[in-house]
């Protein structure tokens, strides 16, 4: 606590003088949320290895927080998609579309997986996107 007192005085005396030009306004901004977000391409399998896969799809730019997560709900039973994989991406406000790509680690070889996808903002708000249940099989 005794360190705080002289620092408070310091801020008053020199802080404004030295740092008035500090640019703090260049962080990514939250953009207007798109009213209807829909998948325009995919989802599809970008690559599938014995223990790993990447699923990708494209939607119109959802807007909202600059970081989004692509979500894959998956499982080996089409009616029990209890597992989840998610990967972050950054929205580009200048783009009309957004490509989501999700890594799936820890898969088993020669196994068929069923999945659906959606996406969320970094704060957890859902984009309201849903896909039909699709499937793929990992190689040996």
């Amino acid at each position: 606590m005794n360190r705080l007192l002289p620092r408070l005085a310091l801020v008053v005396t020199v802080g404004g003088l030295l740092h008035s030009t500090r640019a703090a306004a260049q962080a990514s901004s939250t953009t207007t949320k798109t009213a209807r977000i829909r998948i325009t391409q995919g989802p599809k399998i970008e690559r599938a290895d014995p223990d790993f896969a990447i699923i990708t799809w494209t939607s119109n730019n959802p807007g909202g927080s600059p970081e989004h997560y692509g979500i894959v709900h998956y499982g080996t039973d089409a009616k029990k998609l209890t597992q989840t994989a998610k990967s972050p991406i950054r929205l580009n406000p200048g783009h009309s579309y957004t490509v989501f790509r999700v890594r799936m680690d820890g898969l088993k070889p020669r196994t068929t997986y069923y999945y659906t996808v959606d996406s969320i903002e970094a704060n957890g708000n859902n984009d309201g996107v849903k896909s039909t249940v699709r499937h793929f099989t990992t190689p040996e």
């Binding site: 005794n2 003088l17 500090r22 962080a27 990514s28 223990d51 970081e67 783009h95 970094a122």
Partner: protein, 579 residues
Amino acid sequence: MALSMTLAARKLSGQNAGGQASVQAYNPYPPGILPSDLNPEIERVRRELRMLEQRALERWHALKPPLLRGQPLTFQNTGTEAIETLGELMNYDQNISPNKNEACSFCHMPYAAFSGPIPSVNLTMIAYPGTVHFRAGKRTAQRYTYSPFFPVLQYNQIQGLFFGGNFFDSRSTGYLLRNPDAEQAQHPPVDTAEMGFPDTACIAFRLSQTEYRPLFEQVWGKGSFDIKFPLDTERICDTPGGAAVFGGGATPIPLSPEDRTRANIVYDHWGQSIDAYEQSLQVSAFSSKFDAFLKGSYKLTADEMAGLKLFDGKGNCNSCHLDGRGTTLKPGLADTSAPAIVNPLFTCFGSANEGLPLNPRNAIYYQTTPDSYGFTANPFGFGYRDLGLGTFLRSGFGSAPSPNSTWTQYAPSTDGQMQVTTARDVAMTPPQCPTTEAPGPYFQKEFFHNGYIKSLKQLVHFYNTRDKYKYNVTSGHCPPGTTEKVDCWPMPEISNNIDMTTGNLGLTDKEEDEIVAFLQALTDGYSRPYPNRDTFTGTCMTGSLAKTQGNELLIPTPKLPPCAMAICGVQPVPNPAIP
């Protein structure tokens, strides 16, 4: 008294005051990890530092007499240059280390945009030797340029993201000085792997002995050094931090509470002065071709313009490296938009895990035994994993204490994340070695936090093809018929939270080159000379190809033990678990 005698004995087995390599230098490294020219290269940089210090002294002596006016009192017309010059003098002062052999800029020289100045270190051990030869850190030397513009580290509840701070892991938060760059400057002088003082009061002690003390007292006040240091202060400050003799204590210099407070204030002023220098046009110059382009005084070449379009479009680089442009261009269109941001900084102040492979040449993995002071940097060897921001939020091993317990819960969602550095000046080199790219003549730099990438071509190719050429191997073990960094990317060191904005961009080879050309247009020094860029006295490199630059020095990663519990076992633990 007992402490003093013990310190004296330790000193004999360390290094001499001239900073020459000791006969008992700490060398836990297998053959080939330390570059063969390390000692002459260290001496070369130290000579350059003396040249830079001399220039700063001349600048100080050329300052106009101060005129203190107004309320609050201000040095009218001269205050800014005075504090910037003070910071410059501090930056090149080798006395600010126990062995008087290492200044801040030893790892951050102007001709490399204030990043690592030794090509052979950039090719091999990636982290720079500290005042104790050859302790070394764990990451590349981050560029100073534009670091003062990062805001205080904050968690934005609306966006669910961290912004700001300094260092790759954002551990310099700015929580107290409200200035992360000034707090950043306070870390290396007491980092055991860098300048390595055992006590922050040593900075006040050594500053009180400097030639430029009058400038410090002019800027910060006459009574700044009215501190009663004990007689054995010199011996304590001669002994590197981490020495067993200190028993883990952070304040071995016994000072009264009043004197401790004064020493703390001097240390704050140290950080703020260096921040002033780093924010000045001497360092953050806004003088690149791109800046001239924004002002309408430079026309980007065809390749640079193509690179800009890709940077904003197909490459999606500006989703994090914000360039302030207003639109996404269609083929055949020129960018005539007004910039949305004045002087864009090419960073979003955020953090991301780009999925870099573990670099087995990193010096940190080998410092598993005690040095002559009884200090062991990394008892976990290859069990060390660099979780970046995640480890900092846990106040974990190799980082610093987090000042904010409400942030700890976010550690699992930030594991592996490193700060998004500005893209500005990523390509800066000394004039006589005009590029970072083989065949050159080129200046060998290192990229990303662990220096795995050795050229900008590789950097762009990594973003472009990381997932396309992913192999389930570690570095040095790409399958026969493939070439590492060309059509084989080893597995990420940390698989959690990998940013998937990039990784399979579909750029052609030519498009990669165009983005490199655009990155080179971000180098300061076009519209006016970049100060002190002319101080490199080493040798340029030639030959090879940018896409395989440095590949001749790849070594096989050993079989990795599990991530140490001191890193991956700290609550809240990584999710999923890190092997």
